[in-house]
Subunit: 623 residues, 2 copies
Amino acid sequence: MTTSLHDGLDLEQVSELAAQLRVDSIRSSTSAGSGHPTSSLSAADLLATLMARHLRYDWDEPEAPGNDHLVFSKGHASPLLYSVFRAAGVVSEQELMEGYRRFDQRLEGHPTPVLPWVDVATGSLGQGLPDGVGIALAGKYLEKSPYRVWVLTGDSELAEGSMWEALATASHYQLTNLVTLVDVNRLGQRGETALGWDMDTYAARVEAFGARAVVIDGHDLDEIDEALALADGELDRPLVILARTLKGKGIPGVENESGWHGKPMPEDKAEEAIDALGGERSLQVRGPKPPTLEPAPHSPRGAVELPVFTPGEEVATRKAYGPALTALAEVDPRVVALDGEVSNSTGVADFVEAHPERFFEMFIAEQQMVAAATGLSSRGYLAFASTFAAFLTRAADFIRMAPVSRVDLRLVGSHAGVEIGADGPSQMGLEDLAMIAATQGSTVLYPSDATSTAALVAEMAELSGVSYLRTTRGGYPVLYGSEESFPVGGSKTLRSSEDDAVTLIGAGVTLHEALSAAEALAEDGVNARVIDAYSIKPLDGAGIREAVAATAGRVVVAEDHHAEGGLGAAVLAALASEPVTDLHLRHLAVDGVPGSGTTEQLLAWAGIDAAHIAAAARAALEG
Amino acid sequence: MTTSLHDGLDLEQVSELAAQLRVDSIRSSTSAGSGHPTSSLSAADLLATLMARHLRYDWDEPEAPGNDHLVFSKGHASPLLYSVFRAAGVVSEQELMEGYRRFDQRLEGHPTPVLPWVDVATGSLGQGLPDGVGIALAGKYLEKSPYRVWVLTGDSELAEGSMWEALATASHYQLTNLVTLVDVNRLGQRGETALGWDMDTYAARVEAFGARAVVIDGHDLDEIDEALALADGELDRPLVILARTLKGKGIPGVENESGWHGKPMPEDKAEEAIDALGGERSLQVRGPKPPTLEPAPHSPRGAVELPVFTPGEEVATRKAYGPALTALAEVDPRVVALDGEVSNSTGVADFVEAHPERFFEMFIAEQQMVAAATGLSSRGYLAFASTFAAFLTRAADFIRMAPVSRVDLRLVGSHAGVEIGADGPSQMGLEDLAMIAATQGSTVLYPSDATSTAALVAEMAELSGVSYLRTTRGGYPVLYGSEESFPVGGSKTLRSSEDDAVTLIGAGVTLHEALSAAEALAEDGVNARVIDAYSIKPLDGAGIREAVAATAGRVVVAEDHHAEGGLGAAVLAALASEPVTDLHLRHLAVDGVPGSGTTEQLLAWAGIDAAHIAAAARAALEG
């Protein structure tokens, strides 16, 4: 039976569609030998009703600006999502049966945007809803489009704090274009969830977080349809539909039983289950069409007029960030910014003043901040998100998922290292370089002066993937004139001579210390080459190898970060690729838990100040 | 005026104490030239009443088992905490005035356990309450002690999802010994919070999350006292006191004004403020004494009888974890375990069965899981916390703070790398080694077989700081007999001869691939030395340097992790410390975003399987 139906499917037909989605969820996961059929079955009635009667989507044009968005926060229910794609006619039965979870196929174990109908990758629970908030922010405030964002979440993932960050943010920004469907099937991976079917408590939490909670029987199509229709009316708050469901619904002996999480049916059991569901079907269903809209204005970029800083003037790199971003935004309407309630510290406050309509205050919710940037990026915006470098670690899992989501994140972390002084170790970013460098396809930038900071902010607009700008708290002399360029993957040689005896490599504050060390060494008659490694990933490996070779293998690397995963590690990797004979490398980095103090005291304590760099250089010279 | 008062301070005296705390908060931060006096002043009445009349604490014996615990989740209010310490007579006026925020002093910018009255470090907002949940779990379920855990939080930090993970967990575990004081002073760092003084919404959220909310005027001592006294009665839920306060309370012109966050008063303004508060005081106050209790039984450890595995048998390392932990727990009552709702995947399920009373299910709330381990560790327990390696990144900021808290975390991450196969990239730990290695003082272990896994679990019990065990999804042959030992910082040479031409270094699944590669090379007449680098940090640098030297500088390192911050980086650092002349190193690691597939397909795709290792070895031999 092949039926093609459009719009206005009645609920009896929806029931048939739901049965098909169940059957296909079972078939696809059994054929793959892995997957989560039972977590798919609990939500099949929700999805059948949604796709047939409420989701405004042009399946032939996934990029259509008026399309609604469907985010599977419970990404493990991918068999259901892919069965929806089959019912929409965009994935063939063959692909569903032979492609699911197979190598080099696009129907991956958890959905990713290698599929054109998927906005963001899910599978790390608690991320789809926060990402959806980002898409809804774009729709309401930037695109000003009537599209809705529908997010399907599990109940287990409501244990993630990030989900509550998302609802708090959604209510703060009055995201009436965001509809969350919670599949409350009671059972987590290894047993019952903390709240089971306590729908009242779920509803109370949702309402307290500023959303409208509607509790329904998730297998009653009338109730589902009525709840989904609320999205068409006037809403004063985000809508959360709490659907009481049965895990494995429709499979006798499996329905509502523990022990079936993440397990495909064995073939014989699958056959029985498919029989019980009335056998295979081949409905093709298209729901309501989206309105036809013009794409949001993404004008080509003009030339950026970056702020100009006077060499010698003392300017904190964090203070150069806001003006540079503001300048960038003048010529590029795609530029938006987010911050974790520290805009006056990160330097983005200038941008907030200049472009308030393109700034989203995320309060102290770094996970939501990065998730919102993810959603905004999926809509084509250049989202810059800033907080203290230390607190970006709060969002590590969201940063990790960015390459899987194929989004571009532009992250800015201020207050790097022990340099910050009196505030103490909780505020010191000492692991941030390692975190971002280990992210697939990332770029890590760490400028030492205001001019290079501004230039690198402009460079970041051109980068894909996760890019990171590390800034410093204190003011240091501007080193470069505005005529200089700072390509990603480059470096600057600030001091060199024909007879350099040692290479000193620094970035951020340690570059200034390296310059001082070079002065001190010069007084002893030792010439040092000084390199500004403003691009840590990719590193200017060729330039650094050349410098090290020119200084007889003698090199000192100093960084305001732990020894692992930062500048020193990048230099070692670059030197290993074409080994230098007779390498004498000294790597100065922060070891131990710092306390409070002045910048000078702490740089000395960490052994990364000018005196220690000079001493290390002398030691390298001696052997 | 020096007054010594014990217990039963009346509220008029408490008011004097509050004034002293305010004056000292202003004085200390002004003298330091930095700090957060206004955030201290809003909570001064709360703290004065608490310390004088409710906190059962023997200030002369901070380790007394009956002591209540006081956690400053709003760690930036350290001037207030240190003023409390001065009022208790354990910190001198001189230390407060000359030590605060100074180098090499214990009154750091944010409190840490270098002070004996501080359990855990705070300063990364949203961590103190989750940490407090861990202490309360220890008190209620393990120590079975009547102590209470009092946590002071800010209102801004309620934006962190981790705070709601904490309340959900506190209510699930009925932590009636946990009292949260929320200082709702309305003003965040750069302006008003999302909810301002909307006490009703705060109360609704707190109640919905299963705690009892009591809203008070945070400057009315009667109301404060009455609310705090609730902790003495029979509670059926955790108690949350929502105190409406004024930031900067008591300083004319500053009170309730924006723009004063994190700013000490200039000296003249400080003098005025101190005058307005009635001048300096020197009250010494001690509140109620704790009950005298025996220390919790922490018996000495006997010999562990680890599970025995038969060489050649195929056992997943993750499956060896639970039995090993169970064996350890048999002889060590300090061993407890936590898991993020995946106990059947991480392997800890065996422990849950054997020692249910020493297991805490944290559901899918990894931040709370690590925070609970932090709190438990602060009470002397050996807390092992497990989830997928990928999802440990969710708790990166909590892991970062562990060394600042001087706690020992024992983390176990399963499902490492592309080896997991069909589930796809969202579930693959590919950044975990970098994250943990960059953590101050950490240990990173990555065993390849069940025997070494069990041995390393036992080793972890002896380690301080953050230690990490990385386990693998699939089953691989047991390589070692139970007589072998696996010291941290060691390695195993599994294959060697007098004429080895190349060294192959692997860990986890890549060790098995390296062994296969060595077989293939042997068929070509090439002898390869194979090293099991089960201890990545510290690495057996001497052993690896020796092997690389013995094989003429030819070495292949393969790892199921991104290239940055993992095994390859550790090997490079070890080789750089005593450079090998003529190094020919090939580093095979995962680059690109994986999809789904079988283990074999994905290891081949990533270029880290036996064929790629053998090819890299041949390339190294050629040049």
